[in-house]
Amino acid sequence: MQDRNIPSHGAPFSLPVEVSHLTKSFGSFTALDDVSFSIAQGETVALLGRNGAGKSTLIGCLMGFLLADGGNIDIFGHSIASLPREIRARTGFVPQTMTGFGTFRVAQLMDYIAAFYGELPPVDPTLMAWADLDPRKMVRSLSGGQKQRLAIVLAMRHNPEFLVLDEPVASLDPHARRDFMNLLDSYTQRTGASILISSHILSDLERLCSRLLFVRQGRVVLDVPTETFRATTRWLEHLTPDQVLAALPADIQILGQRPDALLVHGWTEDLALPNGTQTVVPDFEDAFLEITAPRTARAEAETPDAAA
């Protein structure tokens, strides 16, 4: 890691994030159901799902804000349940909306928060230039977009090795959003940090992220490298999709179904398909809608991908 004053702790080869069999319920409602995944160093992972799919709950558990009912979460080899301060200092978090700290001036808040991380190198001028904040302004007088930029600066000021962003660009204008995505890209290139980002701006995620994690109704339904997703996800159009389904090998994952087509993952050019089958590269947004569309419990059981 470059530019860091905070020494690395934890097991020498531990992954930044390892989640296994995570479950979380609120009363009778299961928000997360047996979620498992890991994030390697330098990976930028997109967390994709509809509103209420469990993304924020997952982020809440990952950051230790919510207590899991079952399963394990390890951050840099330490259980989130007892995360040492020095490990917490290696993480950063950008919330959906920045609340609190309203009576601070921007510079005062930046200094105040930074002090909790110890001695830090000077602020990255690129980050400050992007944020374009008046240091004398009071936080409560900032616009929604400016507050979000401040939240991003506060989360990245200490060069975290693992950064979690919960819909960080929702209130940013297109310029700020594009510039932020470039900034994030160069940050990961420069520092080798791992990122988990949740957003509904799919084009940004597709461009920035090296891995896609689709969540539906509290479950991870697809965890795949972006390149693999692009190369092996296809619509198989046919008048009778059942014929196509019958012809598909068992290792092909069915992600969705329309009356005249199947969305599959694991497609290869040499796949033997019934005559008349058209192979179409899906638009990322279409694929997202199909994969993350909610299912009833019955449909979930009947959908072929459940078996796969």
């Binding site: 950063g92 309203g102 009576t103």
Partner: protein, 468 residues
């Protein structure tokens, strides 16, 4: 470097940073309670000075009869509110739990500040000559309602917890005020032996500290993240467009529509408000009078209690302070122009208070008329004066808007609360109807000025449309 400091030293340096904030603008600016707390600190200083002078020649019992020791208790309560608002802002911030050590540092700093202000206030009272352990005992007893505030600050998202703790806090505060007004409670508290007060002081300080130190757990509990937010019911496996309208049009009556203007500030419905107005003052007086506290018979106790209970009919909600719902309602177009809208808010408030204030006044006057030989004509006159004053007090909170476009929140809060406290200290039962009459008319005139002149000013000012 921080990371190499021992954890104790690290925590101390974190807490010192959090403590330093109490000397900066971050604490003073935008804290809606700071002005009110300042006023009561001033009053507490005056009370301490009065006591100090009186105790040179009089007994404590006599001196207390001629001083408003309650001011010190209220100063402690409002100071706790200031601290709670400040600490809640930092601890409740969305990024706070992600910053290592911040939550703990802020909570520790708030707990320490809380103790410092309580000891300082007690020290101020001790200047009069009463032992410090007794003044601390008295101040801490009066701070018990604040523990409820610390349990459910405004940032707390659980409505149930908020409602329970608010009601508990209000009941405790009311109980303490009644004890102060109707019994020798202050004298009792200020003359206890150290063997009783010192352990009690330690226990109450522990209770308050525990309430503050556990604040981060409550503000960042799972309840903060509602699982049903944005949740949709599971749809069919491959859903078809849903054409069923989800919202059923609901016609509100004119009156319901107008009451929406007060909705966020007046959490009770009109029906509940009327019921509360009808029964609460009378029940509170009767229940307190039934307790074997104070001197004399039932009627005498009611006579003692009633002046202190005038606050119940005059205390205001935040109708003029809470305006974030105005822009949304304005855009519905149901209320016309900005000026029409503000006038509608004032009219809605007036119509509500015209219904509730007479009920509250009658409810307050009934026990004193029935159980004490207060001539009905006197009761009628006292009640009428109280009613006139209460109607005026309702609009006093809007007074700052008459002279300022964007008055500070703390000034609006102070002017919403202060008249009710003033009415509690000077009312027809204490001053007599003849003296209070002109005062009531003066308050009513001030209220009328606000009612007619503030709406045009507010219509030309910016309205808050984003909450923090």
């Amino acid at each position: 470097m921080n990371s190499f400091l021992p954890s104790g030293a690290l925590e101390r340096s974190d807490m010192l940073r959090a403590l330093r904030l109490y000397g900066t603008r971050a604490f003073f600016v935008g804290n809606p309670m700071i002005f009110t707390a300042g006023i009561f600190i001033l009053l507490a200083v005056m009370t301490a000075h009065e006591l100090h002078t009186a105790l040179l020649t009089q007994s404590l019992e006599t001196a207390l009869k001629h001083s408003s020791i309650l001011n010190a208790a209220l100063a402690a309560t409002f100071l706790q509110s200031c601290l709670q608002i400040h600490a809640g802002n930092q601890i409740g911030a969305s990024q706070a739990p992600a910053v290592p050590g911040l939550l703990h540092a802020e909570a520790r700093a708030a707990a320490l500040m809380s103790m410092v202000v309580l000891v300082a206030l007690s020290g101020l009272l001790a200047w009069s000559g009463v032992p410090l352990h007794d003044t601390l005992f008295y101040t801490l007893l009066n701070t018990v309602p604040s523990v409820a505030q610390w349990y459910a600050p405004p940032q707390q998202s659980s409505r149930r917890l908020k409602a329970i703790t608010t009601l508990t806090g209000f009941a405790l505060l009311l109980g303490l005020m009644l004890l102060t007004f109707t019994t020798d409670f202050p004298l009792w508290a200020l003359t206890r032996p150290a063997i009783l007060t010192v352990p009690s002081d330690i226990a109450m300080m522990g209770l308050l500290t525990a309430a503050i130190m556990t604040l981060p757990n409550r503000l960042h509990s799972p309840a903060m993240m509602s699982p049903t937010d944005g949740m949709t019911a599971p749809a069919a496996a491959f859903p078809t467009p849903d054409t069923t309208p989800r919202l059923v049009p609901h016609d509100l009556s004119f009156y319901q529509l107008r009451q929406m203007l007060l909705a966020p500030a007046s959490p009770t419905t009109l029906k509940n408000d009327l019921l509360i107005s009808l029964f609460m003052p009378a029940c509170a007086v009767m229940i307190m009078a039934s307790l074997p506290l104070g001197h004399g018979g039932f009627g005498t106790r009611i006579a003692h209690l009633t002046p202190g209970m005038t606050i119940l009919i005059a205390l205001q909600d935040g109708w003029i302070r809470t305006r974030t719902h105005w822009p949304l309602l304005l855009t519905t177009g149901r209320f016309g122009s900005r000026l029409d809208f503000v006038r509608a808010v004032f009219t809605a408030k007036a119509s509500r208070v015209l219904m509730t204030a007479p009920l509250r006044t009658v409810s307050l006057m009934l026990p004193i008329t029935l159980f004490r030989p207060l001539a009905p004509t006197h009761a009628l006159l006292d009640g009428a004066e109280l009613l006139i004053a209460t109607l005026g007090v309702t609009f006093c909170g809007s007074l700052p808007f008459l002279v300022m476009k964007q008055p500070p929140q703390n000034l609006v809060v102070a002017l919403s609360l202060a008249p009710a406290f003033i009415l509690q200290l000077c009312n027809p039962f204490i001053l007599g109807a003849r003296i209070f009459g002109p005062i009531a008319l003066g308050i009513a005139a001030l209220g009328a000025v606000c009612f007619f002149l503030v709406p045009p000013r507010l219509a030309r000012a910016d309205w808050p449309y984003e909450t923090e």
